[in-house]
């Protein structure tokens, strides 16, 4: 039976909690209510309030408490109700968790789960894709699964990882994306990109929900004889530069594609690395497709104009292919 992206995360958490008694969850409304998106539904019944901790509305304390618990040998998984509220816990993440191993040899193995992304008419405060803030902070790992299989395998790796991991779950994928999962205890390693779709003429390097948009766009241009390779990065930190460069060296053309806003987005970093390290293979400029530099608007017409989509990507692919 096919498992949704959301169920896959839940299964991963169940398995890790069964495996390791040090794993516990904390966050707002994650217990009796099962979380705003029901990712943790059923957890309270199974593990009780000792391991499923409903907290006050205190993102900074949620993250801080996770750090403190990790110092004592636990493996906390903290839930932000929306990635948009992670900014309330920002200092604890970027100044405490990210730096303690480097400063004084005190690792903080913990996961902060953050439901991110637009396309659900959430408006400016329930739609953000703010991974770049964390990818810019040494000491953090940044994970953004696109598929159900990866969602489960990556959450399990994140829980087992000995560094703090920010785990961005795309809300629009929660129930829309599903597939049959491998049997048994599997993990997907952090730092390994996936060639989501093989192609010869052009590489689209992307992650999270945009992987599916890229796949659709690739199917459309395939009918025009254009063979597009879709690279799903899966994690921004660590970054699988080898897979990116190998793809670009093969296709000679690259579009870096993300849902986050353009300026200062992680796409700029990838584009720079490609030009630095595979310049002589390129047959055109490294292009970027991202959201415009605005807050995420609420009204459907505005949000549609804001979000990168299949049409915009197809146009970009044609433009670069024609180079």
């Amino acid at each position: 039976m096919a498992t949704t992206y959301l169920e896959a995360i839940r299964e991963g958490l169940f398995e890790e909690m069964d495996r390791d008694p040090n794993v516990f969850l904390l966050g707002e409304d994650i217990g009796i209510y099962g979380g705003a998106f029901k990712v943790t539904a059923g957890m309270l019944d199974r593990y009780g309030p000792r391991r499923i901790v409903d907290t006050p509305i205190s993102e900074s304390a949620i993250v801080g408490a996770a750090i403190g618990a990790s110092f004592m040998g636990l493996r906390p998984v903290a839930e932000m109700q929306f990635a948009d509220f992670i900014s309330c816990g920002f200092d604890q993440i970027v100044n405490f968790a990210a730096k303690c191993r480097y400063r004084w040899n005190a690792p903080a193995p913990m996961v902060v789960r953050a439901p991110c992304g637009g396309g659900i008419h959430g408006g400016p405060y329930h739609s953000q894709q703010n991974e770049a803030w964390f990818a810019h902070t040494p000491g953090l790992k940044v994970v953004l699964p696109a598929t159900a299989r990866d969602a489960k395998g990556l959450i399990k790796s994140a829980v087992r990882d000995n560094d703090p991991v920010i785990f961005f779950e795309h809300k629009a994928l929660y129930r829309r994306v599903k597939e049959d999962l491998p049997q048994g205890d599997y993990t997907v390693p952090l730092g390994k990109a996936n060639i989501h779709r093989e192609g010869r003429h052009l590489s689209v390097i992307t992650y999270s929900a945009m992987v599916h948009v890229a796949d659709e766009a690739a199917s459309i241009v395939a009918k025009e004889g254009l063979s597009v390779e879709v690279i799903d990065l899966r994690t921004l930190t660590p970054l699988d530069e080898d897979t990116i460069l190998a793809s670009v060296r093969k296709t000679s053309k690259a579009i870096v594609f993300h849902e986050a806003t353009l300026t200062g987005g992680f796409g700029g970093e990838i584009a720079a690395r490609i030009t630095e390290k595979a310049f002589e293979y390129l047959d055109g400029p490294v292009m970027r497709l991202a959201a415009p530099d605005t807050p995420v608007p609420f009204s459907p017409t505005l949000e549609e104009a804001y979000l990168p989509n299949v049409d915009k990507l197809v146009a970009k692919i044609r433009q670069l292919a024609a180079y």
């Binding site: 205190s58 900074s60 801080g64």
Partner: protein, 338 residues
């Protein structure tokens, strides 16, 4: 003759009491802290041998010392930037502290961070970050973890009056209170946060007044009396260890320096310094120890001399410690590089 003998005997007895023992420990650590910080602030910093910011706890030594004596050796401590004695009490050496300030490999952070930003989990010492009060939620989480694990250790966290204005302070206490986490909170209310006096920091009279808002008990103690702080610390620790949740102790004291070594503190009325100089916790304790027959003035003089010598040696040790090799720059950002 007989009278003299008797006096010697009582003194001997008094000096063997548990109180005398506690007082001697308190005096030793307060004096060590004072001496180490004097060297850092008034010599090494001025000689350019110590880099970066220097924040000392002169006049406030009773707080970390009294609290540290109330802690069990396996309790977890979150010192703030004026709590140097807690490190000494947990066995961090003065040499390591000087090396830390000098950016040498021998410091607790091996040159990765400076001054009081240091910790050692094996000694139950968690490093602050620069942002005031950020340790409070982290300490709350450590306390929750100890409870989760069914251990009977507790956590003690330290901060200044200014830090209690930050959201982290409130979030951390509130979470710990709701979770009944075994956390004892020590405020050094030294009446200034940098240049900002207390009445610009908060509109209530005492930091302790904030506790009822979180449903936790609080008490106010003389922040220049290590034995009083010890007693309060014991009450707080017992409360936390019994599973009754957090306990706040406000220690009223005064910052006998500028905010940091570069700050002449012109904004503090001279008269306040004069008044509080009468309250030096070291002088006060010494006086009491002599009065109570817990120590002789000769013993006290010897203690000072011994600490001065040890401090000299510690500085030499630290100066021998190398600077970190630049090739180590990128190590330890993650468990594995790449």
């Amino acid at each position: 003759m007989a009278a003299v003998k008797l006096e010697a005997l009582t003194r001997h007895d008094a000096s063997q009491s548990p109180e005398a023992d506690l007082a001697r420990k308190a005096l030793t650590y307060m004096t060590m802290m004072r001496e180490v910080e004097e060297r850092i602030e008034r010599r090494l910093y001025r000689q350019g041998k110590v880099l970066g910011g220097v924040y000392v706890g002169r006049g406030q030594e009773a707080i970390p010392v009294g609290a540290g004596l109330a802690a069990r050796p396996d309790d977890v401590l979150f010192p703030s930037h004026r709590d140097l004695a807690l490190y000494l009490m947990r066995g961090v050496t003065p040499g390591q502290i000087f090396a830390q300030y000098m950016g040498r490999v021998g410091g607790l952070t091996r040159g990765r961070d400076g001054n009081m930003h240091m910790g050692d989990l094996s000694k139950g010492l968690v490093a602050i970050i620069s942002a005031m009060a950020a340790s409070v939620p982290v300490a709350a989480g450590a306390a929750m973890a100890l409870k989760y694990q069914g251990r009977d250790q507790i956590v003690m966290v330290f901060f200044g009056d200014g830090a209690t204005s930050r959201g982290d302070w409130h979030e951390g206490i509130n979470l710990a209170a709701v979770q009944k986490a075994p956390l004892v909170l020590f405020c050094n209310n030294n009446q200034y946060a940098y240049s900002t006096p207390l009445d610009k920091q908060m509109a209530c009279a005492n930091v302790a007044d904030r506790a009822p808002g979180y449903g936790i008990p609080a008490e106010i103690v003389d922040g220049n009396d290590p034995l009083a702080i010890y007693e309060a610390g014991r009450r707080g620790a017992d409360h936390a260890r019994m599973g009754l949740g957090p306990y706040l102790i406000e220690c009223k004291t005064f910052r006998m320096t500028g905010h940091s070594a570069h700050d002449p503190a012109d904004y503090v009325p001279k008269q306040l310094f004069e008044e509080w100089s009468q309250q030096c916790p070291i002088v006060r304790l010494e006086k009491r120890m002599i009065e109570e027959g817990w120590a002789t003035s000769q013993e006290i003089a010897q203690l000072h001399e011994r600490i001065r010598l040890e401090t000299d040696q510690a500085i030499e040790w630290a100066e021998q410690s190398p600077y970190p090799d630049p090739s180590t720059l990128e190590l330890d950002v993650y468990e594995t590089k790449g």
